[in-house]
């Protein structure tokens, strides 16, 4: 590091640069998490206010009362993440290896739809999947859907919505890791008589793992906390834990219950991420 000023202010400059931003995140991100924990252990009611009472029962009540919604959140998020991976991997591969000079434009095409407001996009899916819409009629005609069957207000619609809404979070990291692969490595495998598939599974796919891991996490985490798809495309029987937290916090003003559920959601996500990191090797997470 050959900076004159770097030597002179070696100790203070980086901290001065960091201070405003980190202070902001400290006060408005870290401290609020502390308050959320504090809130999660309060008891009382909306009329008389909530007091801190070490009310651990909020946590057990949340699990006992809303275990189904928790399970559904992670099931829906897991299925949607797997679908997003399957659907977008071939496209990311295609852009990375066959995109040529159109790469930037094709990437733009992947990102562009997501500049239509999230809620409007989801409402459009409501139109597409509507009871007398084209999709339902076609599926009824080919007997995949029984007559009078519907897509809207089902788990299928919610999972489809989540899959669609978080696609770029999956496709872009996949593209980035595939794009970095040296094509001569794949050629080498084929020169050594690996079949195309074998070369893919032994060379290309392992090298794209950082993208798979990154994309999976970036999709799964927001998907598990989502409530918009379940609200607009599902029925109350498809509600996820996000719907419960939202209604407890914003409608029922039951802050402690909402805070406890938020914490459980975070804890499960952290546990799953750690397990996942262990399974695929933690260096893949950061690298």
């Amino acid at each position: 590091m050959g900076f004159g000023f770097l030597h002179r202010h070696r100790n203070t400059t980086p901290y001065l640069l960091l201070a405003p931003g980190l202070l902001f995140l400290g006060v408005f991100f870290l401290v609020p998490l502390g308050y959320l924990a504090y809130q999660a252990l309060q008891s009382g009611n909306i009329d008389f206010g909530y007091q801190f009472t070490w009310a651990w029962s909020n946590f057990s009540d949340a699990v006992r009362g809303y275990g189904g919604q928790f399970e559904r959140s992670f099931a829906y998020a897991g299925i949607a993440t797997a679908l997003a991976l399957l659907v977008s991997y071939p496209v990311a591969y295609w852009i990375a290896f066959r995109g040529g000079r159109w790469k930037n434009l094709l990437l733009l095409c992947i990102v562009a739809p997501f500049f239509v407001t999230y809620l409007i996009r989801t409402l459009a899916w409501e139109t597409i999947l509507a009871d007398h819409g084209l999709v339902v009629r076609t599926l009824t005609d080919i007997h995949i859907l029984s007559p009078g069957g519907r897509l809207l207000a089902t788990g299928t619609a919610v999972v489809a919505g989540i899959t669609y809404n978080f696609l770029p979070f999956m496709a872009l990291p996949l593209y980035v890791s595939l794009e970095q692969i040296d094509p001569t490595l794949i050629e080498a495998a084929e020169d050594l008589y690996a079949s195309k598939w074998r070369a893919f599974f032994r060379v290309t796919f392992p090298l794209s793992l950082p993208g798979v891991v990154g994309g999976t996490l970036l999709t799964f985490i927001p998907a598990a906390g989502d409530f918009i798809n379940a609200q607009l495309l599902g029925s109350p029987t498809n509600h996820m834990i996000g719907n419960v937290i939202n209604s407890k916090y914003n409608e029922l003003i039951d802050y402690p219950a909402a805070a406890a559920m938020s914490f459980i959601l975070m804890a499960i996500i952290v546990a799953l991420v750690l397990m996942y990191a262990r399974a695929v090797g933690s260096e893949k997470l950061t690298g």
């Binding site: 004159g4 980086p14 931003g21 902001f24 295609w94 992947i110 809620l119």
Partner: protein, 288 residues
């Protein structure tokens, strides 16, 4: 590209015609699939755009009833929609400027300096990106609710929305600017210093112009994220209404086609900006 071509030519020489057809199918199956994928991506967008020209009879804009320009001509005819858009734009503008400023400083520190606490800093930047939005929203709202305890009354409204947006934008700004700074040639700065420029002049005349594209990209990204945000905003808005909150409210009682008009307009502006960026990048790549 090269691998596919190599195998294809290898097959072509001396292969029988069914094998050639099979090779053709194999080669193009990925292309066809990708085009179908893009159709799927664009389908809801096409619906949004088409239904901005719909002439719905009832309160909901879900079935096609006929073409009209009215929604575009009277885009603000729905009570509340114009103030919602104004609020969204104000918040996005301020939040993206502040977040990009703070984020650029953090990125400079992270890439340029070795210091104690780097790991912690990286973690603090990474955490908001990996926390579900609903938790971000609920925890920040809890902070504001408790502010009264200290006699500091922060009413929910413009300022709480702005703070929330800056909070979740900072990390995106850091990541964007950092990516550019890593590939940065430090010798340019050293040269300026050797020629007698002081730190500030070097920063202003050399560093800043070089990282300007990254700063612009961070600004646009933060702006886009801010305009689109619903969840965190919903928890911290009090009775103020941003555009996504307006849409949320509308989805329950009535969906005027003007919502689609605004959605289409935001989409058009964003795509134009991005096309411009791609165009400039391609021209630069050619010039280089």
């Amino acid at each position: 590209m090269s691998t596919a071509e190599v195998t294809l030519t290898r097959r072509r020489s001396g292969a029988s015609s069914p094998a050639r057809v099979w090779a053709f199918v194999r080669r193009h199956v990925l292309t066809v699939y990708s085009l179908l994928f893009f159709l799927y991506l664009m389908l809801p967008i096409a619906v949004v755009i088409a239904f901005s020209f719909n002439h719905p009879r009832g309160r909901f804009n879900y079935t096609w009833k006929g073409f009209t320009w009215d929604n575009w001509l009277h885009w603000n005819a729905v009570p509340g929609i114009q103030s919602a858009i104004t609020l969204s734009l104000e918040i996005a503008l301020l939040a993206s400027i502040v977040a990009t400023g703070l984020g650029t400083l953090i990125a400079l520190a992270l890439v340029r300096y070795g210091f104690r606490g780097r790991g912690t800093t990286n973690l603090i930047i990474f955490l908001p990106l990996s926390t579900p939005e609903i938790v971000l929203g609920a925890s920040l709202a809890t902070l504001f609710l408790h502010s009264t305890t200290y006699g500091l009354r922060i009413p929910f409204g413009f300022w709480t929305i702005l703070i929330a947006h800056i909070m979740f934008c900072i990390s995106f700004a850091v990541v964007t600017v950092k990516a550019r700074l890593i590939g940065f040639d430090r010798h340019l700065e050293e040269a300026a210093m050797d020629l007698g420029a002081n730190e500030w002049t070097t920063f202003r005349k050399v560093t800043l112009p070089l990282i300007a594209p990254a700063i612009l990209a961070a600004l646009l990204l933060c702006f886009a994220i801010s305009v689109d945000d619903f969840v965190v905003t919903y928890f911290n808005a009090g009775n103020r209404v941003t555009f996504p909150i307006f849409v949320w409210g509308a989805a329950r009682v009535a969906t005027p086609p003007q919502i689609n008009v605004i959605g289409t307009a935001i989409f058009a502006v964003a795509v134009t900006c991005m096309l411009g960026n791609v165009f400039i990048q391609n021209r630069r790549a050619k010039a280089a």
